[in-house]
């Protein structure tokens, strides 16, 4: 990736509208709107799924129908009409035996616009990209290199066909169908997503990455990601999202399940930049995601996220520290501007002995946005010597936004050591003055200070992502000063 300079930023700042707000005209194979058992059967049939999965989906649908949409989160929005959404949309030219050459040239152009040219990615950054457009995986690269190591990295629908026993064993084992409203919905209607399996003792040689986009108007996206790291393996997984500018609200309800077996380590990084709605708060994506990982003995799961997009975010990547000596980490930057609302955080459930967890959450609110941290640290009676450190810092820009902290701390073991601290502040005028004095204008000074504020989290991102994330922070906060 070429170096990002200040001039580039300046150029970008001139175009105030959502940067990635273009729309590619691809003929889509889209279902009529609405959700019922027939639609679910049709999705399942369309994807040639085995009987057990169809039943599993129908069961999830039954559970979902009896559930009510949760209202506890600190967000306000018009509830989506689940009967006004089309639950399946696939680019027509998707070919099961796809190679890069088979991919619709128009799509490739879209990716180039997004700065993720597959060729370039392949050659320069050594990242295998499983590109997802409107729920169907259209290109998978580096599959061969990975296959040599025995690593499976493919779309979940392929995995259902090729590795049904693995999928059947692990799907829904961390996030059960009954978990919550959106997880149940996802279980019923998920159309695609990624599947990753790292065999015993293998260290995945490259960062695995998927790009999600929403492209077809009026289609919700229901991704399902399943990452299984077998004993003593290691994988770093990147996920990035961009979505085109659109007027009506779009729903995104993904489920991500991570399984880290004994001595395994999973690093899961997200940069989320869905369309946040325009400056008047119109439009934007609803992002209701359930992400959870389970750690066996000596395993480690690390979540890193940079959340800059979406009109409404509702996301709590969690770790179940089941095994002894397991480690959970959560590093997050959530930026909200204009009318965005974010309610995000994590859950650390300590079950095993000598388990450790770290939570670093940085919230930046600007404009008229509301940014909440909501987290749970739970130490069960058997989790001796559990250790937790949480830090939640909020930065407020302007006096119309809000920053909120809702930590829940539950300790049932006397050997637990828990620390939680939170601060709320604004960028000091003296800091800006200091920068101005040295010839740095206010806008850049703020970018500089925000970068410093978020450094602890940015440092945790893989290199390629860190650059992109910094850029995103600057763009998201642009125009919020003054």
């Amino acid at each position: 990736m070429s170096k990002y300079t200040e001039d580039d930023l300046k150029k970008e700042l001139e175009t105030k509208e959502y940067e990635y707000g273009f729309y590619t005209d691809i003929e889509s194979d889209t279902f009529p709107v609405g959700l019922n058992e027939d639609v679910i059967r049709a999705i399942s049939a369309k994807k040639n799924e085995p009987e057990w999965l169809t039943e599993w989906r129908l069961d999830a649908f039954k559970i979902w129908s009896e559930m009510e949409e949760p209202e506890w989160a600190n967000v306000n929005y018009d509830k989506p009409d689940f009967q006004a959404i089309s639950y399946y949309s696939a680019p027509k030219k998707a070919d099961p035996n796809k190679t890069l050459d088979d991919v619709d040239p128009e799509l490739l152009a879209t990716f180039e616009k997004l700065g993720i040219s597959l060729d370039e990615q392949k050659k320069l950054s050594g990242v295998a990209v499983d590109v997802v457009v409107d729920s169907v995986s259209v290109a998978t690269t580096f599959k061969k290199t990975l296959a040599e190591k025995g690593i499976i990295f493919c779309s979940i629908s392929e995995a259902v066909k090729d590795y049904p026993e693995l999928v059947k064993k692990y799907i829904g084992s961390v996030v059960p169908k009954t978990d919550n409203f959106y997880a149940a919905l996802n279980s019923a209607v998920f159309t695609d997503g990624s599947f990753c399996y790292i065999p015993k003792g293998v260290r995945c040689p490259m960062e695995l990455s998927t790009y999600f986009r929403i492209n077809q108007s009026g289609t919700g996206q229901f991704e399902r990601t399943l990452v299984v790291a077998d004993e003593s393996s290691y994988v770093s997984y990147l996920e990035g999202c961009t979505a085109p500018s659109r007027d009506e609200n779009q729903l995104h309800a993904a489920v991500v399940e991570l399984i880290a077996m004994d001595d395994a380590e999973i690093k899961y990084s997200t940069v989320q930049n869905w369309f946040p709605g325009n400056a008047e708060g119109k439009g934007g994506v609803f992002n209701f995601v359930t992400k959870r990982g389970i750690c066996e003995n000596n395993a480690k799961i690390s979540w890193t996220q940079v959340e800059t997009g979406s009109a409404v975010t509702w996301k709590y990547p969690s770790c179940i520290l089941k095994g002894n000596n397991s480690v959970g980490e959560f590093y997050s930057i959530a930026v909200t501007n204009n009318y965005q609302q974010a309610d995000t955080g994590t859950k650390m459930i300590h079950l095993g002995k000598n388990t450790k967890s770290t939570i670093i959450s940085k919230g930046i609110s600007a404009g008229k946005s509301q940014n909440s941290y909501r987290g749970l640290v739970q130490i069960s009676p058997r989790a001796t010597n559990a250790r937790n450190f949480s830090q939640c810092d909020s930065l407020l820009m302007g006096n119309e936004c809000g920053a909120h902290t809702f930590p829940y701390i539950e300790a049932k073991n006397k050997t637990a050591q828990i620390e939680h601290e939170a601060t709320t502040s604004k960028i000091g005028e003296d800091q800006i003055f200091y920068c101005n004095q040295r010839g740095i204008d206010t806008e850049k000074a703020i970018a500089l200070i925000v970068n410093g504020f978020s450094k602890e989290v940015l440092n945790k991102l893989p290199m390629e992502f860190a650059v992109e994330a910094q850029k995103l922070l600057e763009i998201s906060l642009e125009g919020s000063v003054g």
Binding site: G402, T405, T415, E419, T424
Partner: protein, 437 residues
């Protein structure tokens, strides 16, 4: 019959015992309707997530005491700060005890709610302040509906109370299970000052459930110092709803010392209506056995240039449960607010539980707000150090716990009261340290 139905249907009988012509009558009638709609809080309510009243509400409570019980001062002397000269308002099973009390109407009023609600000369104050600060929820509405007795303290402008006021509620077990609903009103007008010590004490093994509401009004430059001592038996449950409204440059502090009780819930609310206000909320909780203490605080900063300080320390042994649920709200116009919240806990047993939920809701940007929460153990090396100096483990632990709670204890301004609290803590920890701390 369920307690709720019993309370609703007994309302008419209660009304007939009080003056139905006063303005309070309308407030009571509305309140019982509100209670009927709200009911008792359940664990499904977010603010009651960690505290269940289910077991307490199962009892068949008597709402009024049938027998009058007399208590001799010498029997209950230890529950007063007896080495301190104070005004006293004492209730036995919810009924005022004149021979234990010492009230005044000289310069300011220290008397009874029942007088204040019925006598004409208090009407002006009651009309302005009664049931104005309290936020209505199920329990507060219930108390309002049955509001009849409690402490009434009124300080007009520019008066400092010459001695502290003790408010003590005894329950004698004259009924197998008794529901008490004291209602207190403390009005401190501009430039006035008062110190109040409140205590609830059960003298028998019979069940007692107290649902108390206290409204505190602090005018400009007023100083209110309020101490709550909660060291009741494991048969007594207490829900203490305290609402404080403060005006320009007033300082109000509430210190809660919670050492016992089956279930103790402190709903402590501060509303700041003016500038330059300081609100102080301190608490020490030391529990053992099957006890449960829940501190639920809310501080609302609605105007600029104010401060709030919260410091809650908890030590939990055996099967005790400690809950801290603190909330700070900073409104958009409340710029330059400094709000601090700290909750530190020590767990001494594997069966003990701490649930902490320190929350911030901030809508203004030029503020300094922070909260911290820790759960941990006593420092092993410090304990070892004390042992090498010949201090036995038990005493060493107690010393460390004193040190842990010390900055809250330091905020107690009356030396005699501080001694009493130190003695209570020593009794709790089962040690005699042999010197004053």
């Amino acid at each position: 019959m369920e307690l709720k139905e019993k309370l609703v249907s007994s309302f008419l009988a209660f009304e007939s015992t009080v003056d139905t012509k006063s303005t309070v009558h309308d407030i009571r009638t509305k309140a019982i309707k509100d209670f009927e709609a709200f009911g008792f809080p359940t664990k499904k309510v977010e603010a009651w997530k960690y505290t269940s009243l289910k077991n307490v509400l199962k009892n068949d409570f008597a709402l009024f005491s049938k027998n009058e019980v007399a208590i001799e001062y010498k029997d209950v002397k230890k529950y007063f700060v007896h080495d301190l000269d104070t005004y006293k308002i004492v209730f036995i099973d919810g009924v005022y005890s004149s021979h234990l009390s010492s009230t005044t109407h000289d310069k300011f009023d220290v008397c009874l709610m029942s007088s204040a609600l019925t006598q004409n000369r208090f009407k002006a104050v009651i009309d302005v302040y009664f049931n104005k600060v309290a936020k209505q929820d199920g329990l507060v509405s219930l108390n309002t509906a049955y509001s009849k007795e409690g402490a009434y303290v009124y300080l007009p402008k520019n008066v400092a109370a010459d001695k502290p006021i003790e408010v003590v509620h005894f329950s004698t077990g004259s009924e197998t299970a008794m529901l008490l609903q004291p209602r207190n009103l403390i009005v401190v007008e501009d430039n006035s000052e008062v110190t109040i010590i409140e205590r609830h004490q059960s003298l028998s093994k019979n069940k007692t459930f107290t649902n108390s509401v206290t409204e505190i009004y602090a005018g400009k430059n007023a100083h209110v110092d309020y101490y709550k001592i909660q060291n009741d038996t494991t048969n007594a449950s207490l829900i203490d709803n305290t609402f404080t409204e403060q005006h320009d440059h007033s300082v109000a502090s509430v210190h809660t010392f919670a050492f016992g009780g089956e279930i103790t819930r402190n709903n402590l609310n501060f509303t700041q209506k003016g500038q330059g206000i300081d609100s102080i909320l301190n608490g020490v909780t030391i529990l053992e056995g099957k006890t449960h203490v829940d501190h639920n605080t809310l501080v609302e900063h609605t105007e600029p240039n104010c401060e709030s300080h919260q410091d809650y320390k908890g030590i939990f042994d055996e099967k005790s449960v400690g809950v801290f649920n603190g909330k700070i709200i900073v409104d958009q116009i409340a710029q330059k607010t400094n709000a601090f919240q700290s909750n530190n806990n020590v767990l001494l047993s594997d069966k003990a539980t701490v649930n902490s939920k320190p929350q911030l809701e901030i809508f203004a940007d030029d503020v300094k707000c922070s909260h911290g929460c820790t759960i941990g153990q006593l420092d092993e090396s410090a304990l070892f150090y004390l042992k090498t100096r010949g201090i036995p483990e038990k005493e060493g632990k107690a010393l460390l716990m004193y040190a842990f709670a010390n900055n809250v204890l330091d905020s107690v301004k009356i030396p005699q009261l501080k001694n009493r609290i130190n003695a209570l803590i020593a009794e709790k920890l089962g040690v005699s340290i042999g010197f004053d701390l």
